[in-house]
Symmetry: C2
Subunit: 164 residues, 2 copies
């Protein structure tokens, strides 16, 4: 049940790729086929991908891209703000397209590993208030709520019943 996420709107990937190209140009960095391929995979998927996921996808496509390049490009995307890095306690990082300020956060089931996204404008307001009271200028956030999803909660309850 991992990865309950919605696909990005059609055409979104193209727009994001355009932004990426512009950013590269602005920073006088070459736009290589590998960078484009990696960014495209991330932008089209709209899910939380690991570096390994991207390496595999590229291999399936017949474009063998080095693992190092994938890591370097992902770090680049994070640096320029086009990707977000997540750590869901799996022993490795996951990456996700970052469409600017439209932030969302995550509910994570500690039992089955399901990741559910949620959005809360109240949270945005609260963040602003906290930042303000501490004089911080917030750039991003990582909000992760860990617990049992409805399914696992139910099976946990069932276990308790049969145990007696």
């Amino acid at each position: 049940m991992r990865g309950v996420e919605t696909r990005p709107p059609l055409g979104c990937a193209a727009v994001m790729l355009g932004v990426f190209r512009a950013v590269l140009q602005e920073h006088h960095l070459p736009l290589t086929q590998q960078r484009e391929a990696i960014a495209q995979i991330l932008f089209e998927s709209g899910r939380h991908l690991s570096a390994e996921d991207i390496v595999e996808t590229l291999r399936e496509r017949g474009e063998g891209v080095g693992k190092a390049t994938v890591y370097r490009t992902l770090n680049l995307l994070v640096q320029v703000g086009l990707a977000l890095e997540h750590d869901f306690d799996e022993g490795f990082k996951r990456y996700e397209m970052s469409a600017g300020p439209s932030r969302h956060d995550h509910l994570i089931c500690t039992s089955c590993g399901a990741v559910v996204e949620f959005q809360s404008s109240d949270l945005d307001t609260l963040q602003a208030a906290v930042a303000d009271s501490h004089g911080f200028h917030i750039l991003t956030r990582q909000v992760k709520l860990y617990g049992l999803c409805p399914v696992c909660e139910e099976s946990a309850d069932a276990e308790l019943l049969t145990a007696r």
Copy 2:
């Protein structure tokens, strides 16, 4: 400027140690000198310690405890809920005493690495609402707001001015 945290109240460590002992007994696990020493260091510090920090502290004290034991004990403390695991994107984990449900969250400066704790009852309320609407039963959370602390914000502004 890392580690802007307040010390735990006097006697807190002793209480926590008592809880740890009780938990061990309850689970029929032996209370070893190493476990006690590691837990004590964590409980007395009240800061975010890395496994390495604890190994060093023990070495300074003259009690050479194996690194593996430190990791095993920290994982144990997390499992039983007496410690929290944090990842501040340093390439390693940090651990902190967890005094039950009194949760706090973190502001992290992406420039100097400062970590500032904050508490927000509104956030607790919001968490409950989000969990409720998704049928989740939340056990813990990780809320990290990344940005510039007041000091770094100021020096960033100053740089912009001198740059022109």
